[in-house]
């Protein structure tokens, strides 16, 4: 057992660090949940991809470096430690790309991945519907057979960054018989569509701080050609779920985000806090311990993957852990900041360019999206502890 990096990994880290030091903007970009910030972050994606840092774990042919999981973790640590911008392409890179690698055709990969890597095409996810949040299988939006493709109808919501993105992917009901038989997971089809297509209406929705972080999508006979179906029609649930818990499931929240945030919190505490306030000190220490635990837990997972193992329901423990750590960490920072902790991120006087306020708002969504923490705890209890399913 060891926690040592190889010489090649150390070299990879050094290269990433040097590149980031040379390229990360000196002042933070505007919030990526605003139009101006979105554009700035898109430009940053192009900068990243120009030197092949936007998708390090992808094969070289699609713009990556064929990095191992461990190298990817190293890159992420360096990325967030350098204070680099949030990733506006993350929905495509983390959710759609793994699916294309597993279920896409060579043509789809060649067509879709390179412009995703450069930020030329930015993807939004379109999973949820007004009546299908946690209960995703009860989707109602439909895909109807048409000549050479499908016609999409219905409504999607909580589509992250769809207000500014180019294309979206999601599940649509192409066959109702599963519903009638009480097997609603059946008959769903995984499709991709442009957000500026005929029949698509995008209505931005403000998050808690008012920024249009997501949108509602209204779909009215939106045509999608057959080439934009991923996997077999009717098999969308299986296609979507097959990549949810695998090693790329790690990518939802890499430990580097939290170790960097805990380091920043520690600096903030040293600089500004009353050292005799042990109540606050204990909370800062807990954030440091929690971030380190999450990093080490992930190293162990990466080691298991490297040894040929897999990651299954453990990803539910991950989700609960990082989302609650993220909130605790940011609440500690805001409490530490006293009266300045109240300021919105856009306030001129907000400490550290409003990053703590913005991070706090962002953190509050953590226990909700990607499967609420209630659902995750059910999964942990049932699949990892073997407790009876019950009706919850």
């Amino acid at each position: 057992m060891d926690l040592d990096f190889s010489a090649a990994e150390d070299a990879f880290r050094a290269e990433a660090r040097a590149w980031l030091a040379a390229h990360v903007p000196g002042t933070p970009l505007p919030s990526l949940e605003t139009e101006q910030g979105f554009a700035a972050h898109r430009t940053w994606e192009r900068t990243l991809s120009a030197d092949r840092w936007s998708v390090v774990s992808w094969p070289e042919e699609y713009g990556g470096r064929g990095a191992s999981v461990l190298e990817w973790l190293i890159f992420e640590e360096e990325y967030y430690a350098a204070g680099a911008p949030g990733r506006v392409s993350q929905n495509g890179i983390n959710l759609l790309a793994p699916t294309l690698f597993e279920h896409g055709t060579p043509e789809q990969r060649a067509r879709i991945l390179p412009p995703m890597a450069t930020g030329e095409v930015i993807w939004a996810q379109a999973w949820s519907e007004p009546e299908a949040g946690s209960d995703l299988a009860s989707l109602r939006s439909t895909a109807r057979r048409a000549d050479g493709g499908w016609l999409l109808n219905g409504q999607k919501t909580w589509s992250s960054r769809a207000a500014f993105a180019d294309r979206a992917f999601g599940l649509f009901r192409s066959d109702r018989s599963g519903v009638d038989e009480g097997r609603p997971h059946r008959g769903l089809t995984y499709l991709m569509f442009p957000l500026d297509a005929d029949g698509v209406t995008v209505r931005p929705i403000g998050r808690l701080d008012g920024k249009p972080a997501f949108a509602e999508l209204f779909l009215d006979d939106v045509f999608v050609p057959d080439e934009d179906v991923i996997g077999e029609p009717g098999q969308g649930w299986r296609v979507a779920m097959s990549t949810a818990g695998n090693e790329r499931g790690l990518t939802l929240r890499s430990p580097g985000r939290f170790t960097a945030a805990a380091d920043r919190l520690t600096r903030l505490w040293r600089d500004r806090a009353d050292p005799s306030d042990t109540a606050l000190r204990d909370r800062v220490a807990d954030a440091v311990i929690g971030a380190r635990a999450y990093q080490l837990f992930t190293y162990a997972g990466a080691s298991r993957l490297a040894a040929g193992g897999s990651i299954g329901a453990e990803s539910s423990m991950n989700k609960v852990y990082w989302s609650e750590l993220d909130i605790a960490l940011h609440e500690t920072a805001l409490d530490l900041l006293g009266p300045y902790g109240e300021l919105a991120d856009r306030a001129d006087e907000a400490p550290e360019h409003g990053s703590w306020a913005d991070g706090h708002t962002f953190s509050l969504a953590g226990p909700i999206y990607a499967g609420t923490n209630e659902i995750q705890r059910d999964i942990v209890a049932e699949r990892l502890l073997g407790l009876p399913k019950g009706r919850r």
Binding site: G206, L208, E342, L343, A344, R346, I368, T372, N373, E374
Partner: protein, 327 residues
Amino acid sequence: MRFLLDDEQREFARSLDALLKAADTPAVVRAWSAGDHNPGRALWGRLAEAGVFGLSVPEEHDGLGFLPVELAVAFTELGRHAVPGPLVETVAAAVLLDGLGDRHTTWLPGIASGKTVVTLRPPGDDSPYALDADMADLVLVVTGDTLRAAGSTSSVQPSADPARRLSRPTGGTVLAEGPHVRRAAEHAADVGRLATAAQALGVGRTLLDRTVAHVRERHQFGRPVGSFQAIKHRLADVLISLEFTAPLVRAAALSLASAAGDSGRDIAAAKAAAGDAVHLAARTALQCHGALGYTDELDLSLWIRKARPLRTAWGTPTACRARVLTN
């Protein structure tokens, strides 16, 4: 001993509730947040007519006398309806000005009638900001033994609750000086802290009520979300937290009214408990609403965003706890 609101006090709460329900306060809050104070000023006037601002003004200055219990009742309703503006600050300022006596009391009739909106930097806090100073008629600043009326204010610094518009009072003239200023400011801070605790309690109540209504209606997996035991237990904990905060707030108000015992300690206890309760209520409301709760457009956000600022303002949780153990 009759540790229950009397009929008149309950009727006062009911009438404020009716007034505020009819006022469509969510629209008022949204306007205020955008810098349009007109609907808020109009509502301010109606609240003054209902007696809210007279509760900290002596009768000889056209007020109703100093009535902390009624003040707590009123601020709980103001919190329940998310009323914007320097409500706590105006009431605390009235106590401060009254405590100084002399020509300072000339402001009081205007405060009682709702004509005059006053704000101040919470005395004793280390905040550099005064709430809504951009619209107040008078901005007070206490520094040690000195009371100033600010001459101007810095640009508005938006709070995470956009209805709270903060700025730094600057310059201005000295209104009073001496140890009596410090004493009056301490009393005003106690009143501000109590009013904030009551307001937080009201905010927590609405967060709970709206969330209960939501989880009874919202279905997932073929059943109401509110029938899941995890949701039930979280909401039960919010109710318990609020229900055990309410008597602390009432008792603190009584303690201030009677001027017997250590009312500062009782108020600090109420504020600490109310801060915890409203924070729990907001976290739970957000989680039980899921993504819906995370949106600006659902009115719930108007209450969610109040929780953290009210928990900190006029006495942080740790400052209040320290005070509870001070002899």
